[in-house]
């Protein structure tokens, strides 16, 4: 028994993935050609698993702004937001996010992970209660662990199950923070937000929506699911990340409650880390404007998403419950998922491989982008057809055998 003994299981999974050739874990992107193209394993592939929903990572204006900030303000801030790491540009970005949401203020974090960690773990203190969706992202689970609150889970997207838990709390529900996500990162399904709002309000609790995967993707201004559903004024806290549709790195929290200002300097994930680099902030500001005005990008994104979801479903593959920029195919075993992942790569398509213990599912997780052309979607569909054919050939062989 040593410090490393407990990792033996994880190492075995890693070794199994590596035996298959190029390991899907941390696969090296040798050369980035465009938001939707890179060289992987010696060949140019279509990137269909990058969460680059609007394709803004290579936006000319965003790159120029980052370049200019790099020249004028240097490579890093070398300090916390609380000390020397707040530049005018950090404050400007906070104002712009607050304006986008029509809320009094926003807090910008160095990563999206820290936005959840800082906001959730700090808001819910020792006398409070956190109720989270069972399929929550790891950052929400980690925040729950870090918080000293009592933590309960409710069945994924089940508002009645949430209401039951809130009901059991009685008066204590007023000290409860409920956490849901706009679009869930694995299967791409959306929270039934109106029902979640109703259950939360009825019991006097507060609601936080993590719009990580819905920012830029939903709503007229791209604010996310709450805007799309006309519920922005019903939400107590919204968190999000710049690392998907914005195409940079960072995270934020906005709230209609002016008291969020009191919380800022109590958030350890905000205080005890360096602030985002000036170049990153400058690029994020430009990209956020493009996101706000990008109704054409959202239209292209959803056209691509609906097309791919329908095509894979028509092939008989088991896809997520609703069309979304995240198109996940559920498979039966780790071996089957790994083989299929390699087939897609051979066909020139990179997607994300998800196997336990990362999630309780075996998935080929694809995310589409507004930057994918109709031909790219044709090619992705053709690659999946090869996978579907392989799977049905195996099934036929099993039936005969």
């Amino acid at each position: 028994m040593s410090l490393f003994t407990k990792f033996e299981g994880l190492a075995a999974v890693g070794a199994e993935l590596a035996r298959s050739g190029t390991s899907p874990v941390g696969v090296p992107m040798r050369r980035i050609i465009s938001p939707t193209r890179a060289e992987v394993d010696g060949r140019e592939v279509i990137l269909a698993g990058t969460n680059n929903y609007l394709g803004l990572t290579m936006d000319r204006d965003s790159i120029d702004a980052g370049h200019a900030a790099l020249e004028s303000e240097g490579t890093g801030t070398t300090g916390s937001r609380m000390a020397n790491g707040t530049y005018d540009s950090h404050l400007a970005l906070e104002r712009e996010i607050a304006d986008l949401y029509g809320m009094p203020q926003a807090i910008v974090f160095t990563t999206g992970y820290q936005a959840n960690l800082g906001t959730i773990a700090t808001l819910a203190g020792p006398d409070d209660i956190l109720i989270i969706d069972a399929d929550s992202h790891a950052s929400i689970y980690d925040a729950a662990k870090l918080s000293s609150a009592r933590v309960f889970r409710f069945r994924h997207n089940d508002a009645d199950n949430l209401a039951k838990r809130l009901g059991r709390l009685g008066d204590e529900a007023k000290q409860c923070l409920v956490v849901v996500e706009g679009i869930y990162s694995m299967l791409g399904d959306q929270a039934p937000l109106a029902e979640m709002v109703a259950a939360t309000k009825e019991n006097g609790a507060s609601l936080l929506v993590d719009e990580a995967h819905s920012l830029g993707v939903m709503g007229q201004r791209g604010c996310g699911l709450a805007e799309e559903m006309g519920l922005l004024d019903q939400i107590d806290f919204i968190t999000g990340t710049f690392s998907k549709s914005v195409g940079t790195v960072g995270g934020f929290c906005v709230s209609p409650h002016a008291e969020l200002a009191w919380v800022r300097n109590a958030m350890r994930a905000y205080i005890f880390t360096a602030s985002a680099s000036p170049a990153n902030i400058a690029s994020s500001r430009v990209a956020l404007r493009k996101l706000r005005d990008g109704t054409d990008l959202r239209e292209r994104l959803w056209t691509n998403a609906r097309r791919l979801h329908k095509a894979l479903s028509d092939m008989g593959l088991q896809v997520g419950p609703q069309a979304s920029p995240i198109v996940a195919v559920m498979l039966e075993s780790r071996e089957q998922t790994l083989t299929s992942w390699h087939t897609l790569l051979e066909q020139g398509v990179y997607v994300n491989l998800v196997v336990p213990p990362a999630a309780n599912l075996n998935l080929l997780r694809c995310s589409v982008s507004a930057a994918h052309t109709p031909e790219d979607i044709d090619n992705i569909i053709a690659a999946y057809q090869v996978v579907a054919n392989q799977l049905s050939a195996v099934k036929d062989a099993e039936t005969v055998g």
Binding site: F152, R155, P357
Partner: protein, 79 residues
């Protein structure tokens, strides 16, 4: 409800979650003896909550090693 009765009911809830049939008693260590991974423990808690109509705090799980420990905490939450 008696603790032993809860223990027996919990054992029935645990059995379907195991990869291979393993004998489970009140003293069985859920993680180290039957190798219940954390995701399966989470599934078990959802079943427990529905069965007894309680909300089980995840923080309480760190003190639970055996079926008996789990039964004890369920009984406390029911009272």
């Amino acid at each position: 409800m008696e603790q032993t009765e809860i223990e027996q009911q919990l054992i029935e809830l645990i059995k379907p979650l195991l990869d291979k049939p393993t004998p489970v008693t009140a003293d069985t260590d859920l993680v180290h003896e039957v190798g219940l991974p954390s995701l399966k423990v989470m599934e078990l808690i959802v079943e427990v909550e529905d069965t007894y109509d309680i909300s089980y705090p995840l923080n309480q799980l760190q003190d639970v090693r055996t079926v008996k420990d789990l039964a004890q905490s369920v009984q406390q939450l029911m009272s």
